[in-house]
Structures are given as C-alpha cells and as structure tokens.
Amino acid sequence: MQSPWRQGSLVLTAALLGLPLFVICWVGLQLLGTGDTSTLSHLWQTVVPEYIRHSLWLMFGVAFGVILIGVSTAWLTTCCRFPGQRILSWALLLPLAMPAYITAYTYTGMLDFSGPVQRALREMTGWGYGDYWFPEIRSLGGAILVLSLVLFPYVYLITRATFLQQSATTIEAGRSLGLSPWACFLRLALPLARPAIVTGTTLALMETLADYGTVQYFGVTTFTTGIFRTWYGLGDLAGALQLAGMLLVAVIALILIERWSRSQARYDQPRSRSALPFALRGWRAWAASAICWLPLVAGFILPALQLASWSLDRWQVWTQPEFWQLAFNSFGLALTAALIVVILALWLAYGRRQIPTPLVRLSVGFAGLGYAIPGLVIAVGLMLPLSQLDSWIINLSKAWFDYNPGLLLSGTLFALLFAYTVRFLSVSLQTINAGLTEIRPSMDEAARIHGYSPLQVLARIHLPLLRPSVITALLLVGVDVLKELPATLVLRPFDFNTLAVRAYEMAGDERLADAGPPALMMVMVGLIPVILLSRAMLKSQKSALKEQDFVPVTA
C-alpha cells in the first residue's frame, strides 16, 4: 500500500511548513525552562490587558462588518437581477487589491481635521476647531471600518461561490412552499452557506490579527503592535516571539471554531442546476444597487481617487523602466507564490480527505496556522533555521569542493517564497477545503466502481468541479502576496524591490504623493487576476446553464 508512505510525506510537508511556528514555540518553551519572565510580567502588568481588549473589539467589529457587507452583496449579486449587477459581481473584489494601510492613509487624508471634508464643513458653517464634533477616523472604530472595507471580499468571494452552487431545487422548493425572497435567503440560503461564511470570516479575522500597518497608524494598540513594541522597543526578540506564541493560541481557537461549525452538518447538495434569480424592480432594484455600490465606493473607488489625486503630478514615474521592473517583480513573485501555495494546498487537502487519520488531520491543520501570525514574525522564525542550514551547506561545500556557494536558502527568493507559503497556505487550504466539501464523497466511490483510477477521478471529476475554488485560491494568494510587506522587506535579496515595498517606503515617510503610483500599480496588477477570475466565474455560470439544457430535471 502507498498509504503509509503518503501519510509520512504529508506529515513531513506539514512539519516543514510549520518550521517557523516550531521556532516560535521553541522560544516560548525556553522561557519556561529558564524562568526568565521579567519582560512578560512587566507587559502583563502594564499593557497586555489593553492589547487583548483592543484585539477582541477589533475582531468582533471586523467580523460583524465583513459578514454584513460580504453576505448581503454576495446574495444580491448571485440571486437577484438589478441594474449594474454584472459589473458589481466582479468589481466587488476590487477592495481586495488595496493594502489596508494605504486605505487607512487615504481615509485619514480625506477625513482628518485638515482634510477636504472637514474643511468644506468649516467653510460652509464658519466653525473652527472644537466648535463641532466630527468622528475621529484614527481610532478603534476607524480601524474596524477600514479593515472591514478591505477584507469583506473574502466573505463575498467564498460565500458567492456557495450561493452559485446552491441547488435550484432547494430554493425552488422553498418558493413553492410560499417563502418570500427574503425568507428564502434567511431560512434556506444563509444556513446552507454558513460554512462558507465562517471560512471567509475566519480568513478576514486572521488577517485582522496579523495587521500591523493600519492599527499602528491609527494609534490602536493590539497584540501585533505589542509584539513589535516588545521587539523594537524593549529589544527583546524572545519576549516578542512569546507574545506571538500567545497569538498562535488565539488562532488555534479560531480554527477550532471554524471546524466545529462545519462539522455540524454535511452541506453537499444534489447539484442539478442553479436557481433562477429573482428579478428586482422599482425601488427594490435601486436599493439593491445602492447596497452593493456603497462598499465598492467606500472600499475602493474613493481611496483610489484620493491616491490618484495625490499623485497626479507624479505622472513621470509611469514612464520609468525601473518602475515597470517593480511591477514585473511583484507580479512574477505573486504568480509563482500562488502556484506553489495552491499546489501544496491541493496536496494537503486531498491527503486529509483521503487519509483522514488523526495524525494527518492534525498536521494539515498545523500547516495552516501561519496566516494570523504577522509576516515579520514568520520571517524571523524562518531566518534562524534557514541560516543554520545555509551554514551547514557552505561548510560541506567548502570541505568537499572548496567552493563557497553563498546563502543559497536564506539569501535568495527561496526564503521569500517559503515565507509566503507558510503565511498564505491557510487561505488556499480553506478555499479548497470549502470547494471539496461540495463534492459528494459518493461521487468518488461511484467513479472508482466504474474503474476510474484515482488520478482519473481527479482529472475528470474533481478538477472541473474544483476549478472555481482553485482559481479563487490562486487569486486570493496572489493578491495577498502582492500586498505582503513585512516578510518581503526583511527576506528579499539585494536590490530586489516590489511595489508594496516602494509604496510603503514612501507612505512610511508620509510622502503620500510618491506612494500613489506604486499603490495604484499594485491595484492594477491586482486587477488582472480579478478580471480573469470574473471571466472564469461567468464561464462556470454558463456551463451550468448548458448542463441544464442537456440534462432534463427529473428530481
């Protein structure tokens, strides 16, 4: 049997991907060994309670925000027809292309005291500072708003895929039993989509936990800002990694909640054809349109316009070949990383499905933990073992060939791609798992009984059915890599820059006009996959309709 061998390789893959997490845990354990808890006890007495409070508020707020926006837009664009629905169905992904901290900068520019909104208000009314109340964008509430606006596409994308796959018969049975469209949504579609909603929200929350740029700029102290403060300020890297270890515990709790919610029921449905959409008319159509445009305008169009207006007089940048090199680097890196991550995720997800032993399940779960860990912490956890490996390789090579190959692992793109894989595996793993649960186990069995080899089952049944999930995973990872900053900053090779690095270096110095072009370019490079994805989505919609033409509905 191939099973023990395969099981071993799965566990090994997961363990390798968990390398940085092992380093974090190891440092945490060292603490128990030496008993040196001075930094931690100081932090507990002074700031950690506040970190926990803020992080929890942030997570509750963002969860509420992304579910509210993501689910309502996903339902409206899949199951209703109204003016603009087709454009919106892909345009709602655009906020994903915006790094959260850039959106934070643009909103501050628009809404703070010296911004255009408050200035117009003062000019109209003649008020001065202190004469009126205006919400402060740089606050916990502002951070919740900005992160919700940037992260809701996770929920939208994954929930939408589920709504698209929901069987017509279920919804039509509901309608024939006299349910209104609203009731169909609340009582049928929503409970059926629960796993997808939870998955999307989990992703958004993990990203929230790992966020540093936005909360730091808004002056909101969270666990992640605490990690950096401990490292940079107290100069205590070990203490910082211990805090990161605590963050890991929170992530494990999140993942357990997600698992638990999914294990409540099996959600695969007989998939004959898609339900006929509700055609909305009159004020309902306008309301639906408004509900969908609002997050798009707030999450993408306004920030993009603000960026463009800041960088109007920096147009020369667009003609510099060096700038296009940045775009090329970013895109190439995102594409390569997305392919690697998705292939690994497929390998692990299938392993877990076909050999569901406790050991395999545990190790696959472990491999997906990296998403909520700030990229820089992963980078550090990776740097230590890779440098060690490199030093062995160099010593061996010197002894055998009298040749110094240099830092083959830690000084090249290998380290960067490794870090991306650790950090973003969870995104594709969860997306692909969500897709896999839609494929009924009986399909595999039927195909095997008909004499299909496992590979044929994969090629003929799973791949076509999984395609939307795989493309979704590619897109999500690609866009995430495009935006990724802290790990890229510290692990990249010499003279290798990306759009995110350039945008950050400019924005970090508060040179927002110079940050505009790379940020806009990032959005544009991110647009290409979004458009590809939307085409794939339309195609799968069409093929579903075709199927309907050939297969008469008998059930």
Binding site: R138, W231, G233, S387, G411, L489, N497, E505, D509, E510
Partner: protein, 337 residues
C-alpha cells in the same frame, strides 16, 4: 497551466543576478529613495557597485546576526542610535579603522572603538503655534508636563524610536524617577490619544488641535518643500522652539553606519563610509533630507540656517541605546500609547 509554469520559471530565472567584481553590500534602515542617489554618485566616482537591501533596522539586524559569518552584508546603516548600540552589543561590528574620516566626527556621535559613526543628525525640538503661544513661556522638555499646557500637547505613539530615544536621553539627564513623573504629566497634557506620524503632530498644531507638539525637524522641511499648498500653509503656521538651551541642549538622534564583523569587502566598504562623510555627501543630506550634517563645519542648507542655530545635546549616543528598554517600560507604566 503549462504556460504559467514556464512563465514563472522564466521570471524566477530573471531574478538571479550576476555578481560583479568590486562591490559593497549594504543593509540599510534608511529608505531607498533617501540614500540611493548618494550611492549612485559613489558608484559613478569609484566604479564600485553598491548592492542595497532596505528594511526596518531591527529586522535587518536580526537577519545580520542570524546569518553570522556567512552574511553578505559589509555595512549596516541605521536611522537611530538604538540599533547601532544593539548591533555593537551583539558583536555584529568591527572597528571602522579609517582614521581621517572618523576624526571629523565628534566623539559623542561615534561608537566605542570607532565601531560605528554618525552620518547625519536629527533634532527633535518642540513646535508651537506662534499666534497662541508666547515662546518666552517655554524653556524645555520639562514644560510639556506642566499643567499649564493641559490638553495642549500632541506627540506620536511611544512605539516610535524617536520618542523612545528622547525618553532614554531624559532618563540619563534626569534619572528614572523624575522622567517618569514627567511622562505622567505629559500623558495628562495630551490633547488627543497619540495617532499618526510626526508630520501629523505638526499639522495638528497648525490646525489648532494643540498648542505644542514634539517632532523631528526634517518633517517640517518636507512640509515646507511640499507641492501641496495646504502642507506649505500649515508649515508657515508653526514655529520651532529649541528646548533646554540653558541646560543640556536639544535632543538629537543620529543616523549612522558600521562595518560588519564578517564583511568580505572591507576596503570598498571603508571607501563608501569615507564618501558618506565627505563634504559633498554631507551637504546632500542637509539639502535633500533636511538633516544636520554629522561633520562640524559643513555648511548648512538654507532651510536649516533659517531654522536657526541651537545648542545640541552632547550626550554620548550609547546612552540612548542603553536606556531604551527602561524608557519603553517607563512609557508603558505612564500609559503613553
């Protein structure tokens, strides 16, 4: 799919760069746009290629130390004294050794045994609104904690290294106890919970949110030279007050550079340090970045001259590094976010 694979292989292959003969490798906490023009000038003058890796100082230091003797980095450039001190403590530096260039920089702005040397100085004075504040009411950093300025002080988060260095310096001058009392008073006087960067604090003074703010001067320089009219107007509405002129002087931090312990290109690296301390490079710093030259006698740019001469704190930089941890703990206790 196959096309994608081939494409990504090609892209990966294009990333591997050829190694040229004479070169020097720099890990830099100073951002690319603020150092690259100088490095390009160096390459044009000497033919020595400079390879650059930018990032946050702490992260680069972690990379440098974990790479150990295999590190490709010859020089480590930071924008604060704290990281120079930490690198020195971690044994990541070796003495620079080029005596003439070093001799030009005052001793307090060099590391022990000439392990690192300052390239530029960054002053952190008080900014005030001249239409609301009479500067004769001010004397130094101590005023920031005076109840008279209740609800009138803006300063950024204590996560920021410049605030940490400032408090570290005050600990050296005043002792922990007095500094903590001061920090408590300062937090009482906050006009708002710390948000944004230094430039935001200056703008807040211009907008009337607060009367006093603490910020590095080069942010004012950026605002004065901005294309944005509102930024320039805001810059005109604030003035610099140089604190503690009758005592220890205005707090300054350094950006500096050190030769790594396992540098492979020692000679080119020394040449680069000498170049960065040359009059030409020092003037460029002052003009482009609005920072003060580390070499005394180098002519200040017009903007720096407009801000006026002032007495700088002569505290040896190593104290900023030594006291940094204590400073952060103190700010944690004071509730300075």
């Amino acid at each position: 799919m196959r096309k994608l694979l081939v494409l990504s292989t090609l892209i990966l292959a294009s990333f591997t760069t050829a190694v040229s003969a004479a070169q020097v490798n720099v890990y830099s906490a100073r951002k690319e746009a603020l150092i690259k023009p100088l490095l390009d000038q160096f390459t044009a003058d000497t033919g020595i290629q400079v390879r650059l890796l930018t990032g946050s100082g702490d992260a680069l230091l972690a990379r440098l130390t974990s790479e150990g003797e295999n590190t490709p980095a010859d020089l480590f450039l930071t924008v604060d004294a704290g990281n120079l001190y930490r690198a020195s403590e971690a044994g990541a530096f070796q003495p620079l050794g080029s005596a003439d260039a070093l001799a030009a920089v005052p001793e307090q702005w060099q590391g022990a045994d000439g392990e690192w040397v300052a390239l530029s100085l960054r002053a952190r004075p008080i900014f005030y609104a001249p239409d609301r504040v009479d500067p004769s009411q001010l004397s130094g950093y101590g005023d920031l904690a005076d109840p008279r300025w209740d609800n009138e002080v803006c300063i950024r988060s204590s996560d920021n290294i410049y605030n940490q260095s400032l408090v570290a310096a005050l600990i050296e001058h005043w002792g922990v106890e007095k500094t903590e009392t001061w920090a408590n008073g300062l937090v009482e006087n906050f006009a708002r919970s710390p948000v944004g960067g230094d430039r935001d604090q200056i703008k807040a003074v211009a907008a009337g949110v607060c009367d006093l703010a603490v910020a590095n001067t080069y942010y004012l320089g950026l605002m004065e030279g901005s294309d944005n009219v509102q930024e320039r107007t805001a810059a005109e509405q604030v003035a610099i007050f140089w604190p503690n002129q009758d005592s220890f002087g205005t707090h300054v931090n350094v950006s500096g550079i050190g030769l790594t312990k396992y540098a492979k290109n020692v000679e080119p690296a020394r040449q680069l340090v000498e170049f960065l301390l040359s009059e030409e490079a020092q003037q460029w710093y002052a003009k482009t970045n609005n920072e003060y030259p580390a070499v005394p006698g180098v002519q200040w740019s017009e903007r720096l001259q407009n801000w006026g001469e002032f007495k700088m704190d002569k505290l040896p930089m190593k104290h900023l590094g030594e006291n940094n941890t204590e400073a952060v703990k103190l700010m944690n206790r004071a509730g300075w976010r």
